[in-house]
């Protein structure tokens, strides 16, 4: 494979110094990347390093604010994913992009249906073509079946089939293997190798290091929104790669005070939701922070939702302080003393148009009202108390919550649950999208709460956060618990191994 790096004229796609900011957040600062014919390039980096933004720029989903993009040596400026596709760039995104109401076949060919006479859709040809693609990927799926209800792995297969459905010269895959099993990954790799031999370029994003070493020729490493390293894979070791991805010392950032660990507060018994997670059992004790680690799509948030009663599990049950919760009833979970800070703050955690005070006290509405009317004075008093305790930075308590910065919004969500004096707090990605300073405050707060005997279940995709904060780390892989690691056992390698399904040691 000719991987000489000097001439840039033979590049299929080249991105130079791409820059993209969302408000004050610089998602991509120095995005430079070259893809040559017959090259499989890995794009590595931690969550939030800017990989997905770079992919979206290449795919025409996001417009770069600055920098250059060249296709076949000529400058391009994609206005939509359509333009990227016309340039021969196929992208598999991390987000689900499927249409649940439509058949697998239609999902694959959407917008590019094979046409017959009078430009009518040729359904026979469509099904034949998609069947062929699915056969090539080695899965037994009926093209006429609706996508609704497919397992995550099968949805992933459909996404891959979608990207392979046209003659792509550049294939970009953002974590295509996250939900796939061994044989499925092998078949995908066979397809990738064929594409490489045909002269296509592939950009491959994966958290599984051994996959990267198995299939890739070159690697680009990103950290904090910038490309920090570009090399041939043969010149790298896994240790090198991890060091360049992390790029900082662990431990110093996230102080967790030691707390006295008490009785079990939460006990989860063989919780199962078909097609999502299976046979999940664990417990969280008072004064303990337990992290639920794993890759995106491993089923962590879904387990949390089932514990809190948002989704009804198909089997298993949850106990809080020995009391069994009614499944699928959030109110029952709240009464038992569970607080739930969801991942999507803007959609699920806050009512953005309501005042800060109302948001912070919404869980205490019953206690604050007399004869069914909420008394503004007591609402404000409670809100002010929490605002002070959490060092909330706000202008007025009656401003809409949407006015606050991400970190301060998160504090309001925390206040709302802390006001209920919970026994257990479930935090789903508690510091996502929060600036570094506030992040440290949130961590300090979590540690302090645990110190006072609160049980904390934290879901986090940020490894440093998991390793710094957790007393115990539970790792999920494809809907199953694959490891339970004590603070001393948990390090980058053990967690990543378990998260990528490389360990067989079953969890307790």
């Amino acid at each position: 494979m000719g991987n000489d790096h000097n001439p840039s004229t033979d590049a299929l796609v080249e991105l130079r110094d791409a820059f993209k900011a969302y408000g004050a957040v610089q998602a991509l600062r120095d995005g430079s990347l070259t893809l040559r014919p017959g090259e499989v390039r890995a794009l590595m980096g931690e969550n939030g390093a800017g990989k997905s933004t770079l992919v979206k720029v290449l795919g025409g989903v996001v417009r770069r604010d600055a920098g250059e993009m060249l296709v076949d040596g000529g400058p391009v400026d994609f206005g939509s994913p359509h333009d990227a596709r016309d340039a021969g760039i196929a992208v598999i995104y991390q987000e689900p992009t499927l249409f649940p109401d439509l058949s697998i076949a239609e999902n694959v060919v959407m917008g590019y249906h094979p046409l017959g006479a009078l430009r009518r859709i040729d359904r026979g040809e469509m099904h034949r073509r998609v069947q062929e693609l699915l056969d090539r990927l080695g899965v037994r799926l009926d093209p006429e079946r609706p996508v609704r209800g497919l397992s995550i792995a099968d949805q992933q297969i459909v996404e891959i089939a979608k990207a392979l459905s046209f003659e792509a010269r550049v294939l970009i895959m953002d974590e295509p293997t996250a939900a796939l099993s061994g044989p499925e990954v092998e078949r995908l790799f066979a397809v990738v190798r064929t594409l490489r031999e045909e002269g296509a370029a592939v950009l491959f994003i994966s958290h599984r290091l051994e996959e990267v070493f198995a299939i890739c020729d070159t690697v680009t490493v990103m950290r904090d929104g910038a490309v920090v390293h570009d090399a041939r894979i043969a010149d790298m070791t896994p240790d090198d790669m991890v060091r360049r991805m992390v790029g900082r010392e662990l431990g110093a950032l996230f102080p967790k005070q030691d707390a006295k660990v008490g009785e079990a507060v939460l006990q989860v018994h063989r919780l199962t939701r078909e097609g999502v997670f299976f046979d999940v059992s664990f417990e969280v004790r008072a004064g303990e922070i337990v992290a639920l680690a794993g890759l995106v799509g491993a089923g962590r948030s879904e387990v949390a939702r089932a514990i809190f009663g948002i989704d009804k599990p198909d089997a298993g049950h949850v106990e809080v302080a020995g009391q069994r919760l009614a499944p699928g009833r959030p109110l029952s979970a709240m009464r038992a003393g569970i607080g739930f800070v969801p991942e999507d703050r803007r959609q699920q955690g806050l009512v953005m148009d309501l005042s800060i005070a109302r948001n912070a006290t919404i869980t205490r509405m019953g206690a604050l009202s007399r004869l069914g009317l909420i008394r503004g004075a007591s609402e404000n008093r409670l809100a002010r108390e929490w605002a002070t305790r959490l060092q909330l930075k706000f202008h007025r308590l009656d401003n809409p919550a949407g006015f606050l910065s991400g970190g301060n919004q998160q504090k309001v969500v925390l206040a709302k649950w802390l006001a209920t004096e919970p026994k257990l707090l479930i935090l789903d990605e508690p510091t996502r999208g929060i600036d570094v300073g506030t992040k440290a405050e949130v961590h300090r707060l979590m540690s302090e709460l645990a110190g006072r005997g609160l049980a904390v279940l934290m879901i986090s995709s940020e490894l440093p956060e998991v390793l710094g904060m957790a007393d115990r780390v539970l790792v999920m892989h494809e809907g199953r618990l694959t490891a339970e690691l004590s603070r001393s056992e948990a390090d980058e390698e053990t967690v990543i191994r378990a998260a990528t399904g490389q360990v067989t040691e079953a969890a307790a």
Partner: protein
Amino acid sequence: MSVEAASPPGAEGARARRLTEWVFRVRELGIVVAFALLVAVTAILEPRFIETDSLRNLALNASIFAILAAGQTLVLVTRNVDLSVGSVLGLSAYFAGDLLSKNAGLPLPLVFLLGIALGAACGLINGILVTWGQVPALVVTLGTLYVFRGLAFLWTDGTQVNAETLPDSFLNLGTDSIVGVPILVIMALVVVAVVGQWLRDFRAGRELYAIGSNPEGARLAGVRSERRVLTAFVLAGALAGLGGVLFTARFGTVDATAGVGYELTVIAAAVVGGVAIFGGTGSVYGAALGALLLGTITSSLIVLRVEAFWQQAAIGALLLLAIGFDRLVGLRVDAALRRRSARRAG
């Protein structure tokens, strides 16, 4: 598990196909069955109900609603809604009547074209506000519902178009038949068939479903969503315009209140016919059948001399029944599909 493993390859695919087919067929078949039952029961209680004249009226009444429901379906599948269709129909009805009563010699196809164009223009306004203005369709079309109706009042200035001032050739369209089938019904059938085919068998039509099923996914798949949604609104407006001209041809007398409240009947018809209000599913054929069923219920209750209040309540009950039925089927299908996937993964 072992039973599943022993089932021959391909059996799963066949079962999935049967399931989807069953759900599809049962949805439209369900309305046909309900329709047949309704006619049969009414006929037993009041035999005059199935006299030719009465059935003819039934079909005539449903025709305009079926055309509007076809247009509404286009908008609904994209996860939008058009509440302004009744007002657009009113505008176009008065426009056609006014035009013909002042220029009796005007060729009829031209009148139809102008009425359709007026409706399309209204639809274009809706579409532009929804796509470029990024205002929810519910709000936009609620606004234009009042604006278009207001325009009709301004324009008519309290007057009305009377049947005597309209040319017979035009009024005959609303009453004449070709080989026993009323012209109006034939037109409705043609519209429903053409729009239904377009939505079922053409790329643009399928993209409407994609947009309604997952708007962000449609964008990532390279679907030009704004253009498609705009098209849906323009077509819905154009069909409402056509409905307006036909309204005038059928009833002859038109004032500014023509088509008041039609929008709710039309949406009800589409929902009864299996079009999901949250987009992504449903067919024009189902919506048209829904219009027929709603019209028939009203007629049969009138024939049976049921009080007006109960007529409304019956329509409401039917709507709830249809929604409940869809939800039930949806849940069962979901569960079945999820179980199958789980087996495969496990």
